[in-house]
């Protein structure tokens, strides 16, 4: 396998593959963070997660169009504003959906599967009707494209670095919110025992609504970031949903650390195997591996120790 390459080439292979694996890790983690909050903390199986991401992508598209047409001078920094708007838009939609649909289903968590699946179809058709069935191309500022050549063989992709930085920032922010802030304590209290949390004076409805909105908002930011590496169309969200659930379930639903570990394991396994095998085969083996481990450890990699 390696005989045909020289030593420096081999070195480059490992560096580039390592980097490719890290990018994939960031992408997986970014996709999964929003769901880890919604599914992990609230137990809502949100099949419309991909559609919340695509809303973020569309917001990015429209922001870029606005900047191109009206304030081209500031085009190079529009992406940051677009991510903020994507967060707000997806979060607001999430808040509305929680109020209109999800809150009636907390006692029947499995039904959320069907309800949010329906929601995802409705959202897809809405995007199609309002934004058109064709895919749109999001124009990026010049500085976000291309790569930094390190050596002849090794090149570092700028958008890869960007996604990595973004993922790190959001992960830290979420970890802080969940484990250090007063609000995070309330969320965890509600998750562990809704009735008791209510009894000690936590407004559980409000906590639920903001938690769901936060998860959706993060999905929106992820969708916004993915306009750099993927497509933006009414059904593009479907491309991410399987991987997202894979990461969250494999990691152990209620654990942020689990999500990180699982995104890392899956991405490294897949990226390495893709290099040595063909694309489809790598996917098959990754899925087999995940299924195998989940059979031995149904609760996922990490679990919360809770007295039931």
């Amino acid at each position: 396998m390696f005989a045909e390459y020289s030593l420096p080439e081999l070195g480059s292979i490992f560096v580039m593959q390592g980097f490719a694996g890290l990018i994939l890790f960031s992408v997986f983690l970014l996709m999964a963070l929003g769901l880890a909050i919604i599914f992990g903390q609230m137990g809502v199986i949100n099949m419309a997660h991909g559609e919340f991401m695509i809303l973020g992508a569309y917001v990015t598209y429209f922001t870029s169009q606005f900047f191109l047409n009206y304030i081209p001078a500031l085009f190079s920094i529009y992406f940051f504003l677009a991510m903020g708007l994507a967060f707000l838009a997806s979060g607001a939609l999430g808040m509305f959906i929680e109020w209109a649909m999800i809150r009636h289903l907390y006692k029947r968590p499995l039904d959320t599967l069907l309800a949010t699946w329906g929601l995802s179809l409705i959202l897809q058709q809405l995007y199609r009707s309002f934004f058109g069935p064709r895919e749109v191309g999001v124009e990026l500022p010049e500085w976000m494209m291309g790569s930094i050549p390190v050596t002849d063989m090794v090149e570092v992709q700028i958008n890869g670095l960007f996604v990595m930085g973004l993922t790190m920032a959001i992960t830290i922010a979420v970890a802080f919110l969940m484990y250090k802030s007063r609000w995070g304590k309330q969320v965890r209290a509600v998750v562990q025992n809704r009735v008791m949390a209510g009894a000690v004076g936590i407004n559980t409805e409000k906590v639920d609504r903001y938690t769901f909105a936060l998860g959706c908002g993060i999905a929106g930011v992820a969708g916004s970031a993915f306009t750099m590496i993927g497509s933006t169309g009414p059904t593009s969200g479907q491309l991410y949903i399987v991987d997202t659930f894979l990461v969250v379930v494999f990691g152990g639903a209620a654990s942020l650390l689990g999500t990180i570990a699982s995104a890392f394991t899956i991405s490294q396994a897949q990226s390495t195997m893709e290099f040595f095998l063909s694309g489809s085969m790598a996917k098959v083996l990754t899925l087999l591996g995940v299924v195998g481990i989940l059979m031995l450890r149904p609760q996922g990699l990490f679990t919360l120790k809770v007295r039931r």
């Binding site: 390459y5 080439e9 292979i13 580039m16 593959q17 980097f19 490719a20 990018i23 994939l24 992408v27 058709q125 199609r128 069935p133 064709r134 895919e135 749109v136 191309g137 999001v138 124009e139 494209m145 291309g146 790569s147 050549p149 063989m153 090149e155 992709q157 700028i158 958008n159 890869g160 993915f226 750099m228 590496i229 993927g230 497509s231 933006t232 169309g233 009414p234 059904t235 593009s236 479907q238 491309l239 991410y240 897949q270 990226s271 390495t272 893709e274 290099f275 063909s278 694309g279 489809s280 790598a282 996917k283």
Partner: protein
Amino acid sequence: MSDDIERGLESSLRRKLLMGMAAIPAVALMPKFALGAGPATSEVNTTGLAVTDTEVTVGILHSVTGTMAISETGSVQAEKLAIEQINAAGGVLGRKIKYIQEDGASDWPTFAEKAKKLLVQDKVAAIMGCWTSASRKAVLPVIEQYNGMLYYPTFYEGLEQSKNVIYTGQEATQQILAGLDWVAKEKAGKSFYLIGSDYIWPRTSMKIARKHIEAHLGGSVSGEEYFPLGHTQFNSVINKIKLRKPDVIYCAVVGGSNVAFYKQLKAAGIDLSKQTLLTISVTEDEIDGIGGENITGAYACMKYFQSLENDNNKEFVAEFKKMWGEKTVIGDVTQAAYLGPWLWKMTVEKAGSFDVDKIAVASTDIEFTKAPEGYVKIHENHHLWSKARVGQVQPDGQFKVVFETADLIEPNPFPEGYQ
């Protein structure tokens, strides 16, 4: 003809809705069209199709909802344009075409069901429709059982032929061989890296490509890879491509993956003006989503590009934009879909009948000189004689045509030595 079509998008849409309900306002708009000019209905329709003295009904069967709506929208638009133009020019055998549109909803059993509805309940004289091979395969038994006529627009993998289908797109050898010959000669391509989505069309196409590269071009295949539909992470394979340094990346990735692939290729620093990439799956429609700046310099092998310089095409592009808006783009399949209604009209008029059996026979050697891609002719195997062209992507998302075969290529859906 063009005098009658000077209407904006909205009014033409509204007119189409009216057409379905009452023919009177539409007829009043067309002074050239004389009622009852054609031969008697009993003569031209002996099998009980939906043909009256003034009207003939056809079906349009594409996905306008679901995943495939992205691709099939263009085909629907082209077919409606062709039907409108044919009606403005006097219709078929003196009868105006009325269409019934059904939605396949990107779901193959739905396609079959809707095809059956069109044939059994609506008795349509022909169906313009399907896009993916899967939908065609689902519809085929229905069309054959109820003896309908299908005009299928997409370039596809070949290995199929039916009395009841006219394939207006290219079969695999028409699209693949000429492009490979060109790239081997012009770009001195010796080693090829084949990459595609994982389903029947890319796999069959790559099989043909590999045979041709190894047996006829004296080249080598340095890698062959398939990715699941919807795959969005290509960094590993891009690293592999960088290492193996193939002369040519030969690509048949489709759908959302397409966008991801080219964006990541660009991000990884592979400059398509230096690295030759030849694709058989990117038309102007796909570039809309990919973004012209991300794929500038790549080559595509198709039979039609929107930028083709000929009078037919200039007129076609102008009419298309007038009907569907200035910003719409026209890809290879959209043009092929436009051919369907016209080829059907000419076949009906040659046969002097709407009967499917007569049309199936009369189709052979039907010539269409006004085709936007240039002259086309139906082969007796129900595929089209057509040229192959190679275009290079420009930053504005249009192609610059850099090569065109001198002659029409004979369709050969069952190529010997390539299976």
